[in-house]
Amino acid sequence: MNMTQGTGPGSTRPASSVRVVIVDDHAIFRSGLKADLDASIHVVGEAATVEQAIAVIAGQRPDVVLLDVHLPGGLGGGGREVIAGSAALLSTTRFLALSVSDAAEDVVAVIRAGARGYVTKTISGAEITDAVHRVAGGDAVFSPRLAGFVLDAFGTAPADIADDELDKLSARELEVMRLIARGYSYKEVAKELFISIKTVETHVSAVLRKLQLSSRHELTKWAAERRLL
C-alpha cells in the first residue's frame, strides 16, 4: 500500500506548496481556516455549495480539498456528493473531511465515499497544515475520534486467519488504531511499537482501505445506529 508520488512521505514533510480548495458553507470559517493555514499551502479556490465545489474542483484540479461534511445544495448528500461528483479526479485530488458534527454516520459516509481522512474543525492551524501535507503525500489522516469509530465498527478483537481480511483489522492495525485513539501522533505510535513512521502510515492506509472497501453490512448499520459518539 505505498501511495507515494514524487516526494516521499515519512518524517520529512515536503516543503513544496500544496494547492488547496476549501469547501465550506460558512464564509467565516473559510476565511478563518485560510488565515490559519501556513505559507506552504496555497488556497486556490473556495466553494460554499455542492455544485460550486464540483465546478471549482474540476476547474482548479487542486492537490487537496478541505471538505465540510455538511453542505447545502445538490441532492442533499453534502461532502459525500462532492466526492462522488469528482470521482474522475480521485487519483490526483485528495479529500480531507472536516466536520463539526461528530456523527459517526456522516464521517463514515464521507470516508467510504473516498476521503483520505477526517479531522474536527476545532483543531489548530498547525495540525491542519500537517494533515493537509500528509493527505497530499498520499497518506491517511486519522483523528483520535475516527480511530475510535473504526475500533467501534470493526470490533476490538483481532482478525482470525479464516476471516475475510477486509472485515477485520489485523492485530498490528488494531494496536495502531488504539494508540491513535489514545492521542498518539504517528511519530509516537512508531516509537511505542518500535516500527518506522512509514510502517505506521502503511497500517493507517490499510485501515482506511478496509473502511472504504469493506462490504460488511454491519459497518453501515453500525454507523446509522450510532448517531453520535
Binding site: 461528530d102 456523527a103 476545532t122 483520535p144 475520534r145 480511530a147 475510535g148 475500533l151 467501534d152 476490538t156 478483537a157 488504539r178 485513539a181 489514545r182 492521542g183 498518539y184 509516537e188 448517531r227 453520535l228 459518539l229
Partner: protein, 453 residues
Amino acid sequence: MTTLPVRPPLARSSDRVIAGVCSGLAAHLGWPVRNVRLAMVLAAFAGGAGLVFYAWLWIMVPTADEAARRSARRPASPIAPAVSQPGQGQAVQAPSPQRTAPDAGTAAGGNGKAPDGEAAPPPWFRAGGMRYGKEILLGCGLLLVAGIMVAQMLGVDVSLGTLIPAAAVLSGASIAWMQLDETRRAGLVDKTKADQAGGWGRLAAGLALVVAGVLVMVSGSGSWEQTWLALLASVAVLGGVVLVLLPWALKFWRDLEAERSGRIRETERAEIAAHLHDSVLQTLALIQRRAGNEHDVVRLARAQERELRGWLFQDPGRESGQLSARVKAAAAEVEDLLGNAVEVVTVGDAAMTEANEALVQAAREAMLNASRHGGGTVSVYLEASDGQTEIFIKDRGPGFELGEVPADRLGVRESIIGRMKRHGGSAAILSTADGTEVRLRLPAAAEHWEGKT
C-alpha cells in the same frame, strides 16, 4: 347537608357497580362495602330515599381521581388518596395516586384508562365548571321531585304511564353519562382509548333505554303501527341530519387536529428559542465581554459547545448512566475547572458498578493532573470489552519527575494507583519528556468479584 361536598376524604371510588358511591362511602365511614350497599338498596325501597341519596352523592362527590388531582395542587397531597380508599383491600398502594384509581377501575369494570392524557385542561378550571353544572343539575332534579310531590298533593293523578318512561329515560341517560364521568370524558375525546367493549356496551345500553323511553312517551297509547312509522321517520330524519352534518363534523375535527399540531410545533419552537436564549446567547454575550482573555473565551466556547451538542444530539436510546457517559461527564467537569480541552474517545460501553465508579474517580483524578501539569489538550480513551475496561489519559506536558513533589505523588499514588488496586484493577503512569500517560485497567472478573461481596 351542604357539609358533604366539603369533606375531602369522601370520594367516589373506582371500585364501582354504578358510580362508586357506596364503596366510596364505605371507605369514608370505615364500614364494609357490602353493608353500605345493602343499606342503600333497602333505603331505596323506603319511598325512594336511597335513590335520592345515591343520586345526591353521585352528583356532589368527586371521583377519587378528581379528588386526588384537586388535592395534588396542595403540598400535602400524597396522604389524601390513601385516606380516601383504605378499605378497598388494596394491599399494594401504587406510588402515584393518579395511577391507583384507574388501575383498580380496569379490574372492576374494564373501563380504566391512563389518566396522564387528561392533564391538558387545568384541573381548577375543570373542577370549577363541573361544580357549577352539578348545582344546576341538582336544583333541576329537586324541583322536578318537588313538582311531582306538589302535583300529587293537589290531587293530580301522576300516572305510571308517564313516570315509567321518564324513569327509563333518566336511567338510560345516567348509564350513558357514566361514560362521561370526569375520568372518562378525556378518554372519549381521545378516540384511541374509547373503543373499549365495556364502554361501548354501556353507551349502547343507555342509548337503547333512552330511545325506548322516548318512544313509549311519544307514542303513548298509540298503536304499534304508528310507533313503527314514527320510528322509521325518526331514523330517516336522523340519517339525513347525520349525512348533512358529517362533512362539517369531519372538517371541524380536522381543523381541531391541525390546530393542535400547530400548537405543539409552536411549543417546540418556543422551547428551542428559550434554550438558545438561555445558553448560546448568554455565552456569546459573555464572550464579547471577555474578548481580551483568550483563555476565558476558549473555555466558554468549549463549555457551550459541549452543552449544545449534548442538547442537540442526545441519543434517547443510550442510557445516561453508562460508564462512557460518566467518563465524559468527568472530562467536562475537568475542562470547566481548569480550562484545558479534554477530548474523550470511547469504544464500547459498560454498566456502572462500584468498581467502575472507582475507575471513573481514578480517571478524573488523572485528568485533573494531566490538565493541571500538562497545560494542553488532554486525550482520554476508554475501551470497554467483555474481558476488561481500560482508560488512558494522555497529556503533552513536560512530564513529571517521579521524585519531584512527594506530596503530589502521594495524592497520585493514593487516589489513582491505590484506588485501582483496591478494586482489583491496576494503574501505570508513564512519563516522558513528550508527555505523561496514565493507564488504568480493570478486569471484568474484578467487577464480578466486587459485585458478589
